[in-house]
């Protein structure tokens, strides 16, 4: 019953201020294009597609609730993919539960015929099957990767009036001496992994307090019940600008972090030692069931590539403080494998 067609009316944008992220993503793509990424180089049109595809509506599963961050992003993207696939119909379907695995299981069970796709959220996807407690038998091979859409880097924020620490250096120093509570959006979430990687590298004593979602984290820190907010740029940028929070560091790659929160240093740019390689992010990409025909995969990936990099979409995401970070199927796989290694290491040491 919740299968509804999405279509995006062209509303005059209210505040198209932060288009910078888009420009960056485009330059990044230009750089990638130079390497001659697999197959996409010869033609961007849909002529690699199997004849007649798509002849019926495509179901795009969002494994989280309607109205949430992932859902909003997917609903904004879907009309552009429809356009790129020559007027296809995409039905966005919310199948929430099990930390995203209700939706991903439905995806795995579907035919790899290009008519069922889903939003893949990492590290949730990866920590789901790596955590032996969860009992989920899966791996990346169960999915056909289409491309990465958004990379939302981790961020560390505190209350602006917290007089114990006002910079990341002061926070780390304090946390090495004292136990501090830190928000987390669940066991094995990127927020928990971020605080664990700092504990691992710097001997800090951050203790993750698991809440339901980013809104709970914000409530807990602004309300003074948890000391430090470990979250993502997209979740703290607006409260930072509003003065509700003070973001101390971004856990991103200094070379590829976008324009968001440009007044805040990345961890590598601070005076701290041993943190150069610490990265944390939550990424949202697209995928289908494993074992999809390569021609079909390429066809969908090409359409998705053009849609994801559409300037209007990039600008709409930037309005929500989200960095569009397109990666083709091959680069996306590399990114997820890197993430898999990190989750396996931290999870094995600290969580399970």
């Amino acid at each position: 019953m919740r299968k509804l067609q999405t279509s995006l009316g062209h509303r005059p944008g209210k505040r198209f201020l932060r288009v910078g992220g888009g420009a960056l993503a485009l330059t990044l793509l230009a750089a990638c294009g130079g390497n001659g990424g697999g197959g996409g180089g010869n033609s961007a049109s849909a002529d690699g597609c199997p004849e007649g595809y798509p002849e019926r509506p495509i179901e795009l599963i969002v494994p989280f609730a309607a109205g949430g961050g992932t859902d909003v992003g997917v609903r904004l993207l879907a009309p552009y993919i429809e356009e790129e696939l020559g007027g296809a119909t995409i039905n966005v379907v919310n199948r929430e539960g099990g930390g995203g695995w209700i939706g991903w299981n439905a995806l795995r069970a579907a035919e790899p015929d290009g008519y069922t796709l889903a939003s893949l959220n990492t590290p949730n996807l990866i920590s789901g099957y790596l955590n032996p407690e969860q009992g989920i038998e899966s791996s990346l091979d169960d999915f056909t990767l289409i491309g990465n859409v958004v990379t939302d880097y981790g961020a560390i924020a505190v209350r602006p009036d917290d007089d114990r620490f006002g910079t990341i250096e002061e926070l780390i120093e304090y946390a090495q001496e004292n136990r501090l509570t830190a928000t987390s959006t669940g066991v094995g979430s990127d927020d928990q992994l971020a605080s664990l990687s700092l504990n691992d590298a710097l001997g800090t004593q951050f203790e993750g307090i698991h809440g339901g979602g980013a809104a709970d984290s914000l409530t807990a820190v602004v309300g003074g019940n948890v000391d430090v907010m470990f979250a993502n740029v997209g979740e703290v940028a607006t409260p930072h600008e509003n003065g509700q929070l003070k973001v101390l560091a971004v856990l991103g790659d200094p070379e590829n972090r976008g324009e968001l929160l440009s007044d805040v240093p990345t961890l590598a740019e601070t005076g701290l030692e041993g943190v150069e390689d610490i990265r944390s992010w939550s990424a949202r990409g697209l995928g289908g069931p494993g074992g999809m025909d390569e021609g079909l995969q390429q066809c969908i990936a090409d359409a998705a590539a053009a849609a994801i990099q559409n300037e209007e979409f990039v600008a709409a995401m930037a309005e929500q403080s989200l960095l569009v970070d397109y990666r083709d199927p091959e680069e996306y796989r590399q990114m997820l494998e890197e993430e898999e290694a990190m989750v396996e290491d931290l999870g094995g040491q600290f969580i399970w």
Partner: protein, 507 residues
């Protein structure tokens, strides 16, 4: 005065033909879908969300908000007529509302709920207009220890609510608490009692459980009874509460407005707690508490008022701090994002048309609901004239469809059926489903906030008493328990003395 100016300018946003239409569509759709079992307000809003972002921001928000409070009212209709709570907050309404319906007083129950909802909603809006910023700061100061206290308070209240035996209420509540432990452990993430099923990892869904225990169980139970009589189709007296009933409910409505407004602001658990608290208060201060659970009109008026006042004040943290207080306001948050508006402390100054337009649309919407309910209540109670042998199967089909639509999941339909069978046997044994589902809801709040409190304090139990608000709440809990035990002992002695006095002359 600045606020007054803003309120006036908000009306100029709402009172355009276009936006009035959106208010009307919102409350009408909300009310109708609220009537369909299983389809709660958030599910309905999620359905409409994709369409809404083609509208201008004010129109979209006005319509979605209308669905939210409209379905609150619609949920009441099924709670009263079929004992099928459409959402958590209307579970309490079933206690007396359904009894009233069975006595042929469905019209009075629905009428007083409409009046109460209107008053509660209006009080909520006035409070929201004038008190929003300072209250929002107070509400987010509520941390895990405070919620622990509130949850314990709620669970205590649940056990006092039962109309039959206290022991049976406690057993049902205990079962609810146990069911709440199914799913992922909130701290370690390991699965509990899921029997390897991924579907159970997220825990049982409240709506699914409620639909089964109330709706399906009730149909099964009464289909059996049908053979002997058809109690529902007996008599329908009036369609509107009598003067006496209105004056009986006045106090309950006034108290419900205030309770609902303040409890509703709390992000996390406001909805259920507000109607529960109102019911508890009414039963406590009533001259004759035994009327409750047997069709006391205050038992409908108070909670329904509180429910609506709370639904309105739940907008305070969303609109002033950008923090959604429940799943329905979370969808409104998403709708704002889709419109390119980020909710937060500057929403009022940056988007005054949206903020005040939505607030003022609620005044208009509440008025529309009241007007709509006059003819619709008359139509809806006709449902009771339908023979149960026909109504029952239809209700089950609609219920199952609604259940599927909650998460697009067939598994939930099996859970609802299983809960229906369990509920049937509970009713046969004289156990009520109310304490079970309420304890289920409060159970996860209790566990989460208790364990989070201890994680924050590093295992130090004093955290519950050293914080001013939670310390006060715990002191109140101790007093309430002491008073209850004392009262129980005293009434027992009195009864023993009375029976001794009675038996003496006979001998």
């Amino acid at each position: 005065m600045e606020t007054l100016d803003s309120i006036v300018s908000g009306f100029s946003v709402v009172l355009t033909p276009e936006n009035l239409l959106y208010v009307f569509i919102g409350v009408f759709v909300g009310m109708i879908i609220g009537v369909l079992p299983g389809l709660g307000s958030s599910a309905t809003m999620a359905l409409v969300l994709p369409f809404s972002f083609q509208l201008p921001a004010e129109g979209a928000l006005i319509m979605l908000a209308g669905i939210y409070y409209g379905s609150m009212y619609g949920g009441t209709i099924t709670s009263v007529l079929l004992r099928l709570p459409g959402e958590a907050a209307s579970v309490v309404t079933t206690f007396d509302g359904y009894q009233m319906a069975r006595q042929g007083r469905a019209g009075s129950a629905l009428g007083i709920a409409a009046v109460g909802s209107f008053v509660g909603g209006t009080v909520g809006i006035i409070g929201l207009s004038f008190l929003a910023p300072p209250l929002a700061d107070f509400a987010i100061g509520f941390g895990a220890p405070e919620y622990t206290a509130l949850a314990i308070f709620g669970i205590l209240m649940v056990s006092f609510l039962g109309t039959k035996s206290l022991t049976k209420s406690l057993v049902a509540a205990g079962l609810g608490l146990l069911l709440a432990t199914i799913g992922q452990d909130p701290v370690t993430g390991s699965p509990r009692f899921t029997m390897g099923s991924l579907e159970l990892l997220g825990g049982l869904d409240f709506l699914v459980l409620a639909v089964g225990l109330f709706g399906i169980a009730d149909v099964l139970y009464h289909l059996e009874e049908e053979v002997r009589s058809n109690p529902l189709a007996t008599k329908l007296k009036r369609v509107w509460p009598s003067r006496k009933e209105v004056s009986q409910s006045k106090g309950a409505i006034a108290r419900g407005s205030v309770i609902g407004f303040f409890v509703g602001i709390l992000p996390g658990g406001g909805g259920v707690l507000s109607s529960l608290a109102s019911y508890g208060v009414e039963k406590r201060i009533a001259k004759d508490p035994t009327r409750f659970g047997r069709g006391a009109i205050e038992g409908v008026a108070g909670p329904e008022t509180a429910n609506n006042a709370g639904a309105t004040s739940a907008f305070i943290p969303l609109l002033t701090l950008g923090i959604p207080a429940n799943s329905a306001t979370a969808i409104l948050f998403g709708a704002l994002l889709l419109q390119g508006i980020t909710p937060g402390p500057f929403l009022i100054s940056e988007e005054p048309d949206v903020f005040w337009g939505v607030i003022d649309s609620m005044y208009i919407g509440n008025l529309m609901l009241l007007v709509l309910s006059v003819p619709l209540v008359g139509i809806f109670i006709q449902i009771l004239r339908i023979r149960l042998t026909i109504l029952g199967p239809i209700a089950i089909i609609v219920t199952m469809l609604g259940t599927f639509s909650i998460n697009n999941n067939v598994f939930d339909m099996w859970i609802a059926l299983a809960a229906g069978i369990v509920g049937y046997f509970m009713m046969k044994g004289g156990f009520e489903p109310g304490p079970l589902v309420l304890a289920f809801l409060l159970g996860s709040l209790l566990e989460n906030s208790f364990r989070t409190s201890l994680a924050i304090s590093d295992g130090d139990l004093s955290v519950f008493v050293t914080r001013p608000v939670s310390g006060t709440l715990f002191a109140l809990i101790v007093l309430a328990v002491a008073a209850a035990v004392f009262g129980h002992v005293r009434s027992r002695r009195r009864r023993a003395a009375a029976s001794a006095a009675q038996t003496a002359p006979v001998e």
